[in-house]
Every structure is written in structure tokens, then in C-alpha cells.
Symmetry: D2
Amino acid sequence: MCRWLAYSGSPVRIEELLYKPQNSLIVQSLHSHLGAETTNGDGFGVGWYDDQATPAVFHGIEPAWNARNLQELSGHVSSPLVFAHIRASTGSAVQQTNCHPFRYGTWLWMHNGLIRDFMTVKRDLALAVDPALYHRIEGSTDSEIMFYLALTFGLEDDPPRAVERMVGLVEATGRRHGVEYPIQMTIATSDGRSVWAFRYSSEGRSRSLFYSTDVLTLRTQYPDNPVLHALSDEARLVVSEPLGDLEGAWQEVPEASYGVVRDGDDELGPFTPRLPEAMAGGNGVATVRQ
Amino acid sequence: MCRWLAYSGSPVRIEELLYKPQNSLIVQSLHSHLGAETTNGDGFGVGWYDDQATPAVFHGIEPAWNARNLQELSGHVSSPLVFAHIRASTGSAVQQTNCHPFRYGTWLWMHNGLIRDFMTVKRDLALAVDPALYHRIEGSTDSEIMFYLALTFGLEDDPPRAVERMVGLVEATGRRHGVEYPIQMTIATSDGRSVWAFRYSSEGRSRSLFYSTDVLTLRTQYPDNPVLHALSDEARLVVSEPLGDLEGAWQEVPEASYGVVRDGDDELGPFTPRLPEAMAGGNGVATVRQ
Amino acid sequence: MCRWLAYSGSPVRIEELLYKPQNSLIVQSLHSHLGAETTNGDGFGVGWYDDQATPAVFHGIEPAWNARNLQELSGHVSSPLVFAHIRASTGSAVQQTNCHPFRYGTWLWMHNGLIRDFMTVKRDLALAVDPALYHRIEGSTDSEIMFYLALTFGLEDDPPRAVERMVGLVEATGRRHGVEYPIQMTIATSDGRSVWAFRYSSEGRSRSLFYSTDVLTLRTQYPDNPVLHALSDEARLVVSEPLGDLEGAWQEVPEASYGVVRDGDDELGPFTPRLPEAMAGGNGVATVRQ
Amino acid sequence: MCRWLAYSGSPVRIEELLYKPQNSLIVQSLHSHLGAETTNGDGFGVGWYDDQATPAVFHGIEPAWNARNLQELSGHVSSPLVFAHIRASTGSAVQQTNCHPFRYGTWLWMHNGLIRDFMTVKRDLALAVDPALYHRIEGSTDSEIMFYLALTFGLEDDPPRAVERMVGLVEATGRRHGVEYPIQMTIATSDGRSVWAFRYSSEGRSRSLFYSTDVLTLRTQYPDNPVLHALSDEARLVVSEPLGDLEGAWQEVPEASYGVVRDGDDELGPFTPRLPEAMAGGNGVATVRQ
């Protein structure tokens, strides 16, 4: 499995997110508290948005804890929207094309969890990817195929619905192959303006996911904490596990739900997998209400 | 493009093949004379057979000329059947899973050349791979898909015929997508006993391929050359370009042909792409004679 | 810190040592039980002797647990004398030239532990290295300087005495700079025939070190264990921590002692640091008896 | 040998320097026209200044031409002062700690060329490094020792004089060991405000070095060239070889000279190696006028 964080708010240097917190992602790469694996040393990735047309991604195959270029970069790059991910491979090769976040156009995507019996269902899932996108798949992970399936099912138009369809397809495909609990996931995706985060698993016991409490509330609670005053009112973190133990600072994302972080009010809603239209009926037309 | 060599004969330390020759593969990694690219620095691979059930493969993403582990290994491992490959990427990522030789069971496979407009035809070709093999594809190269297509079409039973079918499919698929010359290739494959080498291109101007002249003949020609007396009578090299300039030592593999190196007489024959049966007719049944 | 193993006995495939044991070095790279650090993911190395003039070394900067080439190699190379090491950096860069075992001529050397305040004493120690050897230092670790100091003090003639002098110098140098406990170490070194193992620390609380019980004794104790019958009578392992929990199979090397594994009777003796002659007196002449 | 560029001027995205020019450093990594080696594939480095206290460095051991992270970074980072370097090793290991530019505090340093018979003189040179700096040497190159010698001899106070002393020491040391032409170099160094560039060799036939003509002059010469109008008046490049063939755009740095690029008038002066004071007289006190 893996660990990840997504940040949205006033521009911060990446090291503030990755290295400074007490239980930072770098610390978690050696010793994760809540991860399925305690060591997440099979590569890492950072993605960030700036004034360029597409976000930057930086992928390394060494453990994050000894990655010098990551530390250099983190000390010199600031961004208002940052994704970071550390990987514990569940079998696929440790190579840059298997590192998260994945990018397509302006979109970033990262994942913790797995598609169970992936080797059994991989071909069926790959075939369901839009033929115009298929050749864009560069690596060999389940996570990247999930991304291209979500793109196939409309990620750019309606992210929650597209991810629900992707999961619907993965579950239907897995069950057709006799897999009891086909999917386990937390996911973050962004178009550079909003961040969507998802928590779901077929068995209803999903990997941990937390979001930071509203900064205004925290400031009231801790009027003397300088860190909280340096953050913009809108600043929000979504993380696999809390980066520290400030009481009241972290809220768990509920089972089978998703959240949106964006300008204006954030949003939290239920997540319900549904079969993509094309797969739902025998007549090739949608039979499932949207 | 790439450069490669295949050796079959009495056991030799790999360094004798890779480092000692005047125009060795290591020299070619920096400065190839006959390659489409003069620099072949995008990784390398070695495969060798020994008394284990499957051959060993060793893949590196650094240039062969500065790869210390390759030099160490080559100085300490001997084998009677060695494949070696240096890569010049035509676009796909430099990662171990894209390094040749590829392995499936007891089979090794390596390739120089390319499938043209691969991004256009990749999905169609991947779908033609036996569904039971699809998930074994680990990398993103055309070369690996060619291997799995050849396996799909019977490589383990009749290598020349399987490769002809693979090329037939690639050419038919490319032409359906408007590609004038769909394939350019030299290929070596082995099951640990024989080595098959292929030279073919849609345009009839294939990448260079040479085999070493029979050792007995060379010994008669150069009675005082100690190197020739150290080799077994059966020793044979197949190479992208000659490893030295000993006159008479190298024969060009003719256009559109293949050769087999094995115990007993070697063999050279014409290579004729042909459409796999399943793709040949409208009725889903083979209509092409085998 | 690090973990290591040294094997001497009938030739075995390296995978039997590295991958097969219950608490193998690969397992320890993720989760060491007795190490100062639980994760040893900062590179690895293997050295082995064969019929060549010098031993082979294979160094990787990735974690051993995800190193494909290590697994390939281990499955295909056999040797009667194998060193293997997994690294947890105490600060120096993760690069091949910092990976153990180090090699000089026919000698291999590997180390677990550290020279304390190494940045403070590094220059003094480097200056004490034989000027004819200085330029052979390739990396930046304390371990490699310890090796070249031992070579300077006669490792090739009398390993125990040379290592005692090296430690004597390190302790004197450290104390001159105000370091309370200058050295912490377990060390293995070999010339290809014998293996010497050392356990020592200035504070008298050295890192763990074990050797395998005599195979004949173990066979009597476990008459039905097939593994024990596959090993030669002379086979011996020295390890940072036991590779399994077979009762009676592992003996702790005592504090401040060294052992020799070789043809004929093995040997265990006390280890007493002593100042090298040249450093011992004010007159530049040796004043310490040897 | 190597190739490098140093840029000072209005902030530019690094890709404008590294990827866009016709004969860019990336092109030179595969095929250099003027280099001692045509291929510079043994790693690379970029250093840049921004509003942080120290410059950033990014080092890679893969060839620059296939380095994805370098391309990502270059497309997203802008800086008014950039160093970039591609390496062709003359023997030392390909590892990040041997990649240029080297950094000490606010200073960057990069080098093309070599100290001849470096293995012979390495120890003497390393001993001449200020003992307080010795332990900061991380790699094994001549280039890094040259940097620490220059720091020892006052780089932070008077760069031209410090580099002259460093070269004086290298030449005296080499000659003492019988080396005819001890040094060959072009060097760039910066404190974040000015850039100093040096061209010198013992034999008086130094590696090529060029600087870009004053932008104002070029604009007059090419009134319709939009590139020239996008650059600030102060913009200046110093390069191992011209990045393109715009006539009049490149001036050769004369033999045995140095230049300074800074706010206000740039400067070009003669370069005369001189022995550091401590080494010049028998009384241990400076006898050479400064």
C-alpha cells in the first residue's frame, strides 16, 4: 500500500508539507503508523500546480527518506496545490512510470490500496479504457488503470460520478472473476482548481483517510499557535494519516464517501459505485439512472 | 534502435563477449558504426542459460559503458548461451521492464528496430495477445508485445512460423491504420538449446545482422589465431554489427530470412510474414494454409 | 546501521542464503529484529569468491527487498564463500561506492556500526591511511576508511592484529577530539580462504553478532532436518542476527572478541585494540610490543 | 570531459536554456561538437538561485537526454542565475556526489577538464584542503577537490586570486610528481550575484569556452529577432560550446583568462596561476605578494 497527502491553500514550499511535520510523509516512508505496510520505500512522487499549463510531476524510485533531489526540490518549490505520494509496491515493478501522482493533461491522480487479483482482471479493465487513451498507459499498476478508466467515464466532467463508475466496473469485473472484495482505495484527484478525495472499499473497511479541520476553527481553539496563523483561511490537507497530534486538527473521512476541497464551501458526500452505462444493459444503452 | 549479440557454443565468461572484442557491445554503446543511432545508452540487458530451470536476466537502466555491476558480473559468470542487448529508446521509458532480453519460461527474446506508429496500433496488438498471457506484459515497448504475440502464435512449438505470424499481424494492423512500412526488425530468441535469428522489414531495407563464420573454416584460414582455437567447433555468434575486422569472419544474414543455430547443422531460410489464421478469414476460422 | 552475513562452506546458490531463510537478510531489510534501525533500505551488496583471481562484488542502491537483479543473480550464482550486506545509512550518501562489501585485491570487508563524530575525525583517519592506498578510497563512509586503515596496519599479514591497530587508532583519534565512545562495530573480512569476524565497541555494548553452531552437532540434535544434511561439515555462517529460530543453531560471539572460520578448527579469541607503533611514541618509533 | 552553461540575467525557465536551443546541452549530451568526448552521458546537474538562502542543486546519474525529472523540473522552475552541467566521466564513479555543480554555502562550482594523473596527486591535494573543510568533500572527483582548494585559498573573498592559487598548487604538485601538463580546465563559479568563468590549461590549449555577445549589440544587429528582445539587457551566457549558430552571438574566452558577469560592466582579465603563500616559502609565512 501507500501513503499520500494533498494540499490546497496559500502557496507553501513543499518541504513544509513533506519534511517539517512531526509525522511527515518522509517519516511515514520509514515507519507508517496506520498503513497496511509500515515501510513505504518503493519510490515516491510529487505533483504540483503553478502558472504553467500543466502540473509538474517528479517521480523517484528510491525511498523518499534518502532522496536528495526530493529534499532539494521541496526546499525551493512553492505551490498552492500539491500532491505527494510514497509507495509500497504490492508486486508491480519499482519504476518511475509506476509512481504516483499520474498525470493526464491538467489532471493528477494518486491512490492507496489495490485492485485484488489484479492479474486476473487486468486485461478486462484495460480493454474498457477508451481506445483513444489506451496507449497513454505507461506503467503496470492497478492505480494507473483506475485513472484511465475514470477518464474514460468522464472524470473531466463529473469526477465523483466518473470514479463511481470506475469502481462499479472494477467491482463487476472482479466479481465476474470470483473476487470477493474487488477494490480497496483512497484516491485524490485534481484539475488544478479543486481536489476530490475518495474513500471506499468493497468490504466496507477502507484504508484510513483524514482531512484537516477548518483553519478558522483551529485558530479559535489554539489562538497562540503560529503555524495556524501562517496558513490561509482556505488551506486544507487531505492525508492517509494525520501529520501530527494537534487535538481536533484531523477529521476522518467517513466510509464510502468523497469530499471536494475548493474555493468556497468544501463538500462531503456519499460514494456509491455504479456500473457504467455501456456495461449495464444488453442493448448497449444506459439502463442505470444517473 | 539497439544493438545485440547472441552467443552459442562452449561456455565462455560473458566479458569475453561483451568487453574484450575490438568493436565490443560496450564500445558500440558509446559509438555504434552501423546502428540507426550512434549512441545506445538507454539501458542494457544480459540473459544467460546455465543448469537452472530458467535463464537468468540482468537488466540495467544506466548506459552499459559505465555499468559497474555489468562488468563485475561479466567477469564472473560463464555460460554456453548468452544474449546481450544495448538499448537506444525510440520513446518508451528507460526502465528495467523495458530492457531486453525479455523472458518467458525458458525463452529469451530481444529485438532491434521498431513497430512504426506504435502508439496507433498498440491497443490492437495488445488485444491480439493470448488473454492468458496479457497480464505478463510488464513494460511499454513494442519489442515486448512482439514477444507475447509470437508466444501467442506458437513460438514454443515452431519459432519461425510463430514469428512470421506475429509480423503478419503487425503488418496487417499497421496497414489498416495507414502505416506504409509497419515493421523493422532483427530478432533473436532461444529456448536454451537453439537460437533463432530473424532479419526483416516491411520496406525490405532491414537493420544489419551478421553471423560468425564456421569456426573450422576460420581456423583453416588463420591457423595461428589463438582465439579461434579456444572456441568450440560449434561456437557461433549472431550480432547487429561485426565485433572486429577479421576478414572472412562475418557473414551478413540476407534480407527477409532467418537462421537457426543449434547442435548439428545450422540452418538459414526465407522469412515470409503471414496472417495468423484467426485474423485471416471473415468466418473466424483459419483460411490460410500452414 | 546495517545487517550482514558471511558464509563459508560447500558451494551454495546465493538465494539459499539471502532469500530462503525464515528471517533472511531480505526480510531484515524491511524489518530487522535486532538492528539499531529496523529498516535497512539504503542499498545492499554481495561479494563472492569463485575460480577467478579476485572476488566479485555486486552493489545496489535500491532496497534489497525490491532489487530484481539481486534476486536473479542470487538464483544463478553459487559460491563457497559469500558476503552479503544491507545498509542503513548513518548519513553518508546512498551510492554504489558506499555499499559493502568493499574489495581490495583478494580481500573483502564489511561492517555494521559506526565511527562516532566521523566528520570530526575523518581527516585525521584518512591521513593515517598508507599514502599508496589513499587514492583507492572511492566512497565517503567510515567503514571504507576502517578497511584501508586495516590494510595499512597489515590486514594481509595478520588480520586480528591489523584490526586491533585500526581500532586502537580510531579510539585514540576520537578521544583526542573528545569523543567518549569512538567506535561501534561488527566486521567481517576474508582473503577467500578464511573469514575473520570481529565484535567490539568502545562502550562494551556491541551490536549483535552470531555464528552458526557446528553442523555435526546440529545434525546429532536434529537427525531428521534435511537442510542440515545438505550442508558440508565445514559450513559456517556468521550473521548480525539469527536467520531462523532453530534452537541451538546460533551462538553469540562474545563482547570484544574475534573468530576465524577456516579449513581445520575454527578459532575464537579476545580482541584488544592497540595503538599502531608509529602513533604510540613521541619519538616516531614503535614503543608498543607486538 | 564535460559540457556546461552558466546563465545570468532576467529570470528564465530552465527549459529555455537546456532544451530549446538548437545545439542545447541536451543535444550535446548525445553529440557534442567541440567536446573531448562526443557523448556526455555520465550524469548531469543543474543549480539555480532563487529567494532562498542557498541555491538549489539537482543531480542525476542517468544521461540528460533521457532524464524525465530534469525535463519536468526545467519546464517549471525559473531563475535569474542557472548553472547546468553534463558529465563524461574520466574514470570516477557515476554517482550524484560526483555530479556538478558542487555547492558550498551560497557558492556553486562546475568544471570541464581534468587534473592529469589525479590518482598520483590526489592525496597531496586533499591534504592541502583546509582541515575544517576536508570532511565536506563527498565525492571522488578532481573537480570537487579543486572547489575545496579554491575555498581554502579564499574563493569567497577574491575568486580570481583563489582560483589562481588553486591552479598554482595543482601545477606545482603535479610537476613534483613528474606530470608534464597537470591541469586542463574551464570553470564557472558563483555566489548568486556574480558569475566567474575561467579558461586555462598547463599546455596552453584549453577546452573551448564562449560567452554570449552583449544583448544590446545583438539587438541592433538583428532588429527582428524576438528572442533577443525577450532577454534583459544584462542577460549573459557562458558556455562550453555555442548553443546555436547566430552569427556574432558568441565570443571565445581567450586562453588563460577569466571573466566576470555581474550587475554593471562585465570584466575580462588574464589568468596567472600562482603558488599559495603557505606553499611558496620555506618559513611557513607568505612570501608571495598578494
